[in-house]
Symmetry: C2
Subunit: 540 residues, 2 copies
Amino acid sequence: MTAGGPAALPLQARSFPGLTTPLARLAARCGDGVAAIDGARRLTWSQLLARIEALAGALQADGLVPGDHVALLSRNSARMMEAIYGTLWAGGVACPLNTRLAEGDLRAQLAEAEPVILFFDDAAAETALAIRDAAPSLRQLVHLSDGPHPAGTQGHDTYLARSVRVPDVGRRGDDTAMLIYSGGTTGRSKGVMLSHGNFWANAMNVQFALRPDATSTYLQVSPMFHVSAVARMFASVINGAAQVFIPQFRPDLVLSEIARNRVAVTTLVPTMLRTLVEHLRRQESDIGSLRIISYGASPIDETLVRRMVEAFPKVDFWQAYGMTELSPTATQLGPEWHRPGPGGMARLRSAGLPATLAEVMIGDPGDSPMPAGETGEVLVRGPMVMKGYWKNPRLTAEALRNGWMHTGDLGYRDAEGFLYIVDRKDDMIISGGENIHSLEVENAIAAHPAVAQCAVVGVSDPHWGQRVHAVVVPRPGQAPSLEELQAHCRTLIAGFKVPRSLELRDDALPLSGINKVLKTELRRQAEARQAGAVDGTGAE
Amino acid sequence: MTAGGPAALPLQARSFPGLTTPLARLAARCGDGVAAIDGARRLTWSQLLARIEALAGALQADGLVPGDHVALLSRNSARMMEAIYGTLWAGGVACPLNTRLAEGDLRAQLAEAEPVILFFDDAAAETALAIRDAAPSLRQLVHLSDGPHPAGTQGHDTYLARSVRVPDVGRRGDDTAMLIYSGGTTGRSKGVMLSHGNFWANAMNVQFALRPDATSTYLQVSPMFHVSAVARMFASVINGAAQVFIPQFRPDLVLSEIARNRVAVTTLVPTMLRTLVEHLRRQESDIGSLRIISYGASPIDETLVRRMVEAFPKVDFWQAYGMTELSPTATQLGPEWHRPGPGGMARLRSAGLPATLAEVMIGDPGDSPMPAGETGEVLVRGPMVMKGYWKNPRLTAEALRNGWMHTGDLGYRDAEGFLYIVDRKDDMIISGGENIHSLEVENAIAAHPAVAQCAVVGVSDPHWGQRVHAVVVPRPGQAPSLEELQAHCRTLIAGFKVPRSLELRDDALPLSGINKVLKTELRRQAEARQAGAVDGTGAE
């Protein structure tokens, strides 16, 4: 009978709007309202729109056609916001590069992305000039800072001044909006293609949970080459909310900008939160306007949460779990789980519940759903899932096989549906036939009072296959022994999970561009030392 | 350069979830929470889920396969909610029929929709049995009321009891969820196919504006064969909010259910609002829990709004404009425009601003955008736009041409982006070469103190092409003359728009199933009378 019916028409009429769609609405509706604040610089929605239209005109005059890539190498600023929206307005794809990467990595990304324009700021000027030849596709370098621009580049304001304002090209829905190179703690970084619709979906998820609105001035703290920061930029514009930019995280600056601009919402990573809480103990600040702090990137311990709640008694805390490929939010842990209650803050170890538009499944190796309590790969689907990896259809097909995004994270859900992340799939150690989650071992070691920082990796071992190897940065003046840590761990975790070798380091653990410990690097070093020890070159 | 890149993978991983997705989450997360209240009957999320799983099992046992249609002919009830969700859970498409339609219309819809199951309640039992033979596809009639079921049909509870609970078939995204026959004030009604994603998009729009949440118990007043009522049912489940059902609008029942169940949100049509306000004047009621009333279907006058605000001082009023094909909301007029302010309530004539996910354009006959202030057809696009008309690819292609839903409404936008609906395209009168919007003439006539109700239609005229013809229901004891109304109208509108003929009626104007005046009927009657007068059969 009715399973057939007429074929659905093309999706054009029913796709998500463009990320630029709210701009003209806001300029018409509240043109004199504040859109962006950057130090002494303030832009109204009308001013912002006019500059975006002019920048898009300049980009098109330089030959940009819809789908072209535009690279950005800059610290956070309102000018960076203008450059991203100008690119989208002109039909381009914005590709923000991680300013913390080495030149070699940036050259590789530039060569692969083939951008036609590169925006850069003063802090990145030297690098920009040094790497420009990696992309012969580059037609123009545009300087996003206030002062004079280097020879052979264009100044932002003069670039605008000589151009004609153009209408929105009108890309939307499934059209690519951003190409973001994902840090990736393992292997080479991948260019994640995110569509206009992807960021709209994320804005809906965030809106549903956090409920910011047009009066919720947002403070951009995390660098905007991260998906979470640009996603919040888009969400703030969709909300009609002003946003405040600071070039980098500095606790005094964060607090003074909150006070000066009556900031209501911000996003931080736990390390920033920790610093901010410490700072607030020493310096009185007017943070009365603050209503919401969301944080992500890594879980958080109860001690820090207690201090956070003490330092920001009127603030609702939200934890988010996700990844670049998910634009980025998949799950959220709401404020009620950050308040001490009957069961304590037992849920704090959890990454929370699926965001409204996200479906989360724990999949077995064949991508079949696993029951509550069992650990498998975290799979996610929904309108926030990326289009794919740039120039890597094979990896795209693998990541999106069976209609789910394969996060590479291992986790489980409890009976109520809360997600717990156990480990990165790649960080799981198989020792003596047993699966060992490095995160669990790390949590055990981290609880030892002599330990400041630690990481656990699997190192190849003739007897065990892989051996649990701990890398520990001790607290000042401390030097815990392997035996001491083993004894401590045995009180917390199963014997077979206890580390079998130990390396003490004075310097901090190597971090990726997104502040994740580079375990591949630790593993490589440990293997090299081991090989050296075996063949007698005697490193260790 | 980069316009190419790898082709996007199938959309499967990044489509909207299914409408059934929140059910399992809610049952896991707060299984004992209230999902539905219907008189003395209360269902928790766990109970609701169990009944839906069992109903889906029964439907599948009766041979329902994904995409099959399931018709419903019932007044509002929790059982009707179960039947819709059970259908979706089993992979079917729910097709609620308008209980106010004549048997002939219902037979036509049933024959066209070819449902495999028909759910009906006591009030519709006679009709259901009378029309069942119109669809040979029907395998089962299931009775949705408490008492005994008619011979040859199944009782709801026994139907469930003999079945096996089945897992969610998992339809989602662009899969059709509902087939809703749109009332249509002109021509034959059309079966509008709405997808799971369509209703998710509407829920996001509603959520963004109205901000109801899990604690916002919703009262279902409008009949659930209307898109707005089912859309709110889906949105309430997405919010995790309980909903209360009443079989039909009765002011005392609405008020007592609000008080009894601490209702926070409801949706009404202006005529219901008017009745409710009158009723509240005579009878004290505890409406302290009410926070939001949204209304739609027709604009509202300032006098009624003043009374509404007086009667419900703590309630935020939202007006919505839309249509079945838009799932249904396209624009919204927020609470701030319902409060007396400096410019009075000048915006009340407006249909408001585009919903977050909706793009609204005023199009000329070639679908090019028209500037602010100019009147053209209202075009809408976004993820809430229907898939198409059932078994009518030609009409679908026409309605969705150029990637926009053509609403058939004429309107304009002001400089700030507020939408004003001027007329139905089909109701525009062309008289002496001038375009006349019947709505404008109706508003002028309605302002006359002797007029209770009126409608204006174009009647063919040898001299004018079309003549402005007014149909007026006078207030009791009144009988305004054509000349009197003409003189009154000339003080308000241009001379060529003033009605040239008048018909006084004692009975109310004929209404469509969705309470819109049937202008086609009025026009037909006027033309018939005119023809009769001309050929001497002498009706008028």
